[in-house]
């Protein structure tokens, strides 16, 4: 299902089940309006997020990726988000060498009670990605074949 062309960008969220996914629920229960771009993938813990999932998303044409977990010290699994913080921080650093603006990727903490904060995070991040605009997808095929197919169908 493509995003609504011209209106939405492709933004993927990885949320830990215990805090941030709950926070997003809380925001919903409270009927806090949010932009519709974000699609949420539920994982048990931010520690489950291999930064390469984020890379994969960008390679496949995501315009922005958001990871959200429990606040440090509040991790349902005690330590998962501590590891996540280090790995994601370093990875956020890394992507600029790929030519991907670090602002396209954020990681943050939202607890199950912070519906308001979630609304704020989603809204601000969505705007942040929109100001950067779409990210050119990396072609699945080789460049010359791509050129060929493009000339084929003008």
């Amino acid at each position: 299902m493509p995003v609504l062309e011209g209106r939405e960008l492709r933004i993927i969220g990885f949320l830990c089940n215990w805090c941030s996914y709950g926070g997003a629920d809380t925001a919903g229960v409270a009927r806090f309006d949010q932009p519709t771009d974000l699609r949420i993938i539920r994982v048990p813990c931010s520690g489950r997020i291999d930064p390469l999932f984020v890379a994969k998303a960008f390679m496949n044409g995501a315009d922005g990726v958001l990871v959200s977990g429990c606040h440090p010290r509040d991790c349902h699994y005690a330590e998962g988000n501590f590891y996540a913080r280090r790995r994601l921080e370093v990875f956020k650093n890394f992507i600029s060498v790929l030519g991907i603006e670090p602002e396209r990727f954020e990681y943050t903490w939202v607890s199950a009670s912070e519906g308001q904060r979630w609304q704020e995070v989603v809204t601000k991040f969505t705007n942040q990605v929109h100001t950067l605009g779409p990210l050119a997808p990396v072609p699945e095929i080789s460049l010359d074949r791509l050129a060929a197919t493009e000339t084929a169908q003008p």
Binding site: P51, L52, A55, K56, M59, N60, P72, R73, E79, F82, Y83, R85, R86, R87, E89, V90, F91, N93, F94, S96, V97, L98, G99, I100, E101, E106, Y107, T108, W109, R117, E120, V121, K124, A136, P137, V138, P139, E140, I141, S142, L143
Partner: protein, 316 residues
């Protein structure tokens, strides 16, 4: 110094299955890994700017056997890293170190002398390298054809060794300033992307970069070729090749010693080391950590602090 090194190895040889070093290759310009079983093998040992290979790459596969290895400073960091990850046992490995004056980049040499036939002779003396091929003789200043990594080398001497011969040399630089990276990132994001698109498009997906990497220890289980997990398709497209490089770099984050084997081994000269350099800088900046110095250290990405010193999280 070479003789001294040979003697040391000969002395140690009886205790060992064999010792890995460098010998002369198919021509005068190409050294090649040398496996020394007998004292006479040791006489084939060479030492100099042509010893480009990082022999530590062999070690994990030899785990459990008693072997010796001759190392340059950079190679020794790979050994240290392998020790840290328990992929080799300290007591099984005997390390022979010697001061390194830097190695050449065969790519750069090729750029100078072009594709010649058989190289007849090579001499290097104080700062210059002379190559004789097809009658012609090419003189090159070592610094012009030196491998990039030697330009910012901080460890010309083995960081750990059982036998060290020769005078320890002063490091090239005190701190690695990552100018190469800064220069690359001085161009706008789109241009960086476009650059990689073109580079990755040239990739022939031979995995030489991976196979040469002393720390790519997954070997047969590399996610690049597995279906479960299925990270990459076998399609010959930019996306999968690019993704593979990102995987390689990410798996090396906090482990890579930037020995540069990946880039050296690349048959189409894609500057893939840059990815690892970026991670190395990020790790250095964030955790003030250098991989491959201390076998006892815990690498930063396998640890955490409740309050991180250098991580500023985004305020919304």
């Amino acid at each position: 110094m070479l003789e001294q090194l040979k003697d040391t190895i000969k002395k140690a040889l009886p205790e060992l299955d064999f010792v890995i070093g460098w010998g002369m290759g198919f021509d005068a310009l190409h050294a090649t890994p040398l496996f020394m079983y007998e004292p006479e093998d040791v006489d084939k040992l060479v030492w100099g700017p042509l010893n480009v290979h990082n022999l530590a790459t062999y070690l994990p596969a030899l785990k459990g056997r008693k072997v010796g290895i001759v190392v340059k400073g950079c190679d020794s960091r790979s050994v240290a890293e392998l020790l840290q990850e328990n992929l080799i046992n300290r007591e099984d490995v005997v390390i022979f170190g010697a001061p390194c004056r830097g190695t050449v980049s065969l790519t750069k040499i090729r750029k100078v002398i072009g594709n010649t036939g058989l190289i007849e002779d090579v001499n290097y003396a104080d700062g210059t390298l002379t190559v004789k091929a097809e009658g012609a003789s090419h003189e090159m200043a070592l610094k012009d054809i030196r491998a990039d990594k030697c330009g910012y080398c901080r460890f010309p001497n083995a960081v750990l060794s059982d036998h060290f011969v020769g005078e320890k040399r002063a490091p090239q630089v005190e701190e690695d300033t990552f100018e190469d990276l800064a220069e690359f990132e001085s161009q706008p994001f789109e241009e960086r992307r476009d650059f990689w698109m073109k580079e990755m498009d040239r990739c022939i997906r031979c995995y030489a970069c991976r196979n040469a990497c002393p720390l790519c220890v997954c070997r047969d289980h590399c996610v690049a070729q597995s279906r479960d997990p299925h990270w990459l398709s076998q399609q010959d497209g930019v996306r999968d090749k690019f993704m593979f490089q990102i995987i390689h770099a990410t798996h090396l984050a906090g482990r890579c010693t930037t020995c540069g084997e990946c880039e050296r081994a690349c048959p189409v000269d894609i500057p893939v080391l840059l990815f690892k350099r970026k991670f190395t800088k990020a790790i250095k900046d964030t955790f003030d950590y250098d991989a491959g110095l201390d076998p006892e250290a815990t690498p930063p990405l396998l640890a955490f602090k409740a309050n991180e010193d250098n991580i500023k999280e985004k305020e919304w």
